[in-house]
């Protein structure tokens, strides 16, 4: 026991859990292979990781830091008492999630097929998304203006 603990770096139960987990994954891969989808599944799996960790996350973090830098660069005298950054982040996040859940429809990736199977047009999704996005930013800006007005009144 002690030996495993020392050489392996954790409790033996930890090792058992890891091996069970890897065994299930390996078995699942043989199942996918039997259906002839192994290569494409592994590629998409890896692409999913890269897409989130090395594309999506760096981009949204960079945009966020850009906004943070702009807000910090404002001279103290002009810096509003109410920080505005979250009034930008909130509508951007909600709009971004809506884009993620419906991007094949919004981007009309299967425009003619969608219209053929459903009998209705796919272009509406882009309109829906733009309308909702505009609405979210307007509401967020309105709440911000109210907060600034309240802060001003409280100070005077």
């Amino acid at each position: 026991m002690k030996w495993i603990q020392k050489r392996y770096g954790a409790h033996p139960v930890h090792l058992l859990l890891m091996l069970a987990c890897l065994a299930i994954a390996a078995y699942a891969l043989t199942r996918i292979r039997d259906q002839g989808e192994l290569a494409v599944t592994v590629v998409i799996f890896a692409a999913a990781l890269v897409l989130h960790d090395l594309v999506g996350w760096p981009i949204y973090t960079w945009l966020d830091q850009l906004a943070q830098r702009i807000s910090l660069r404002q001279p103290d005298r002009r810096r509003p008492q109410v920080p505005w950054i979250n009034h930008l982040r909130a509508p951007a996040f909600i709009s971004g999630v809506l884009l993620i859940i419906a991007f094949p429809l919004i981007a009309q990736l299967k425009h003619s097929y969608y219209a053929a199977v459903s009998g209705v047009s796919e272009t509406a999704y882009l309109t829906h998304w733009l309308l909702v996005t505009a609405f979210l930013f307007i509401v967020s800006a309105a709440i911000y203006l109210v907060r600034v007005a309240v802060a001003r009144r409280d100070r005077s």
Partner: protein, 399 residues
């Protein structure tokens, strides 16, 4: 915490959704399932809204979990790039399972979203989504069992009520700890914990509000702007969403005109015109069409009981049946689906003749089954008799 409940619900509804296809009867999108099919059973026919509920929850809860997963990954990602990459074999193995966990959750969500958006170019949807779910769940169970004590500890370290009363000014980063989740040198906070919670929860609510209508119906259907059936073609009694139009299936008036007949095969074979079918005893039932893509709609259907048709073909003990449509597609029903009192060959919907898009001249409606069991533009039904006591196998279609 939300994921701890939400992800098992996704997994179970997903497994049930696969069982609903009745892979054992012969409709198997994952024929290589092996021991992952250990739980499969003959799908039931009551209550009729079963598949509608299961698949609606699967898709809409899946949408609602997207912001939660994004927030979860955002909160742990500073530790992804920690150094050294591995401190021990145990740590290395754990990081391998983390690849399965993070890659798995993003993969499951993306493949679901692709399927709803009809992007099939990457291969078939079912194997990836099904086997991928097993890989992801294996990593999920391991991750939860290793991290549960830590989660309880962190939840105990803060009181929700205190946190909800803490604005930005009072928000402090957590102290760094080995194996913890905090960045090595966190930046000054610009958002309070309560705001993050509110934003993620609020986003889930917005997502549910703008998609749930495709399943729930009613007034919400008008704002199901991001579900994959935001509107319906058709007029009057036939105004409800269409899965596949007749045009796309290549069905034209020449096949569905007055010369159309339905071939019913059993121990004896009968051929019936639409008028002959209308002259048989009719039943009416409210049954849903529930699509794997998540949308569903319940309408009032009128037609001939499937069991009456089986009797007409000389079947006494109901076995499986094969449905064949004019477009060449087919599906296999179990004996209990043939026997169910509300299973029917529908000729009318909401009192009017079916429209061509909804399956004219006749379509099958099976309670509680996935939409693809409700075959439109029926051409032929082959009924088998159930094996009687002592018989080794079904006698099969007398053809």
């Amino acid at each position: 915490m939300v994921l701890l409940v939400g992800i098992p619900i996704e997994f179970i509804t997903g497994l049930l959704s696969y069982a609903a296809y009745d892979p054992k009867a012969g409709n198997d999108p994952n024929p290589a399932h092996g021991i992952f099919g250990f739980y499969l059973f003959d799908w039931f026919t009551e209550p009729s809204w079963a598949y509608r509920l299961i698949q609606g929850v699967h898709v809409i809860l899946g949408f609602a979990l997207v912001p939660v997963v994004l927030a979860k990954l955002w909160s742990v990602i500073p530790r992804l790039f920690e150094w050294p990459l591995w401190r021990s074999i145990a740590h290395l193995l754990e990081r391998v399972t983390l690849i399965m966990l993070v890659g798995g959750v993003v993969f499951e969500m993306l493949s679901g979203i692709f399927n709803i958006g009809y992007v099939y170019g990457y291969g078939s949807f079912y194997p990836g989504h099904f086997y991928g779910a097993w890989i992801f769940m294996a990593a999920f169970v391991v991750h939860v069992s290793l991290k549960l004590p830590k989660m309880v500890e962190s939840l105990r370290s803060r009181r929700l009520r205190t946190e909800l009363r803490t604005g930005l000014a009072g928000t402090q980063p957590e102290p760094y700890s080995e194996g913890g989740l905090v960045a090595l040198s966190p930046a000054a906070p610009t958002i309070s914990r309560r705001s993050v919670l509110a934003l993620v929860g609020g986003t889930s609510l917005v997502v549910v509000g703008l998609t749930a209508g495709q399943t729930v119906g009613g007034a919400l259907r008008r704002v199901a702007w991001f579900g994959n059936r935001y509107a319906s073609p058709g007029v009057g009694p036939n105004h409800f969403p269409v899965n596949h139009t007749a045009e796309e299936a290549g069905i034209g008036p020449d096949q569905t005109g007055s010369s159309w007949t339905l071939e019913v095969v059993g121990p004896s074979t009968v051929t019936l015109t639409r008028d002959q079918l209308l002259a048989m005893p009719q039943i009416t039932a409210d049954l849903p069409i529930a699509c794997t893509e998540g949308w569903s709609t319940t309408q009032r259907w009128t037609g001939v009981r499937l069991s009456d048709l089986a009797h007409k073909a000389g079947v006494a003990e109901f076995g499986p049946a094969t449905l064949e449509a004019l477009d060449g597609s087919g599906v296999i029903l179990t004996g209990s689906q043939v026997r169910a009192g509300e299973s029917m060959l529908a000729l009318k919907v909401n009192g009017a003749d079916l429209s061509l898009d909804h399956g004219y001249p006749a379509r099958v409606m099976i309670p509680a089954a996935p939409g693809n069991h409700n075959k439109k533009w029926m051409n032929r039904i082959v009924f088998q008799s159930a094996p009687g006591p002592g018989q080794a196998s079904a006698p099969g279609a007398a053809s």
